[in-house]
């Protein structure tokens, strides 16, 4: 009863000229999203994809189990010297991500354009 995620991956370029690997998520981000979040991240070559943007604009429902998966990726990315940025959160989930402290380890941007302008 948890809706499946569709994830699309695209290569973008930040204002600094750096390559940004962007994942656009849809559906629910919950305990059932290990494939979408963690496996998708694992599918990347860590030596190539150094800057990763998670876009949650298409996500309708997000819970703490889903946020735990995001933290797991942040943890692994930090170990491999990758940077994760996050965009597309509603004001409510921007508050929630801030409350749990994710903003210490990932920058939040309103949308992809704002993220690319800063990256």
């Amino acid at each position: 009863m948890q809706s499946a995620n569709k994830v699309s991956q695209l290569q973008l370029q930040g204002a600094s000229g750096r390559e940004v690997t962007c994942f656009r998520f849809t559906g629910d981000i919950s305990s059932a999203s290990k494939d979408a979040i963690v496996d998708t991240y694992h599918s990347l070559d860590k030596t190539v994809h150094k800057l990763i943007l998670f876009d949650f604009k298409g996500v309708e429902y997000l819970n703490s189990s889903g946020i735990a998966l995001v933290i797991q990726v942040l943890m692994e990315a930090s170990k491999s010297g990758q940077t994760i940025a996050i965009c597309g959160l509603t004001p409510h989930f921007t508050k929630v991500f801030t409350m749990v402290g994710i903003t210490k380890y990932a920058s939040l941007y309103p949308d992809e354009l704002a993220a690319l302008a800063a990256l």
């Binding site: 009863m1 948890q2 809706s3 629910d28 919950s30 305990s31 059932a32 429902y61 819970n63 703490s64 189990s65 946020i67 735990a68 998966l69 933290i71 797991q72 942040l74 943890m75 930090s78 509603t90 004001p91 409510h92 508050k95 929630v96 409350m99 749990v100 402290g101 994710i102 210490k104 380890y105």
Partner: protein
């Protein structure tokens, strides 16, 4: 019971992940009826979802045939929500999540539900059936009108 039955809504869900979204809809409908603002309703929805997931997982051990019961009581200027399960309740208080410890792998990445519930509503109280005075364990949440997040 101090609440008149004329202002109480109860919803019962199977202990099956995903159904917490039905409780979120019910709670949102009730809060909208009372005139809560959109952002307060978002706070309530997340708190209710986390409370239902905990009731399903930790209380009812994911036994789909055991219902989670959510009782929404409209009171003057506040909405009280009780999320009840058939478990024994919480044995010891859980520490607030620590992102640094999580990032260092010293703490599980999960374990943020109770923290979020407390952070998003005006009152949150966990009552255990194990203590003997209640039939069921429950968490009791309150959101107040004209009151921003604490």
């Amino acid at each position: 019971m101090t609440v008149s039955t004329g202002s109480k809504v109860e919803v019962r869900l199977p202990s099956r992940l995903g159904f917490e979204k039905v409780a979120m809809s019910t709670a949102a409908g009730m809060a909208k009826l009372m005139g809560f603002s959109e952002d307060r309703i978002e706070d309530l929805k997340t708190a209710v979802a986390e409370a239902c997931i905990n009731a399903m997982e930790h209380g009812n051990q994911m036994n789909a045939s055991i219902p989670v019961s959510v009782v929404l009581s409209m009171k003057p200027d506040e909405l009280e929500v009780k999320v009840m399960d058939n478990g024994v309740g919480i044995d010891k208080p859980t520490p607030a999540p620590d992102i640094d410890r999580k990032m260092a792998g010293e703490e599980e990445t999960r374990g943020m539900g109770m923290f979020l519930i407390q952070a998003l509503v005006d009152e949150a109280e966990w009552v255990s059936a194990a203590n003997g005075t209640e039939d069921q364990s429950f968490v009791r949440l309150v959101i107040r009108m004209n009151k921003e997040n604490e």
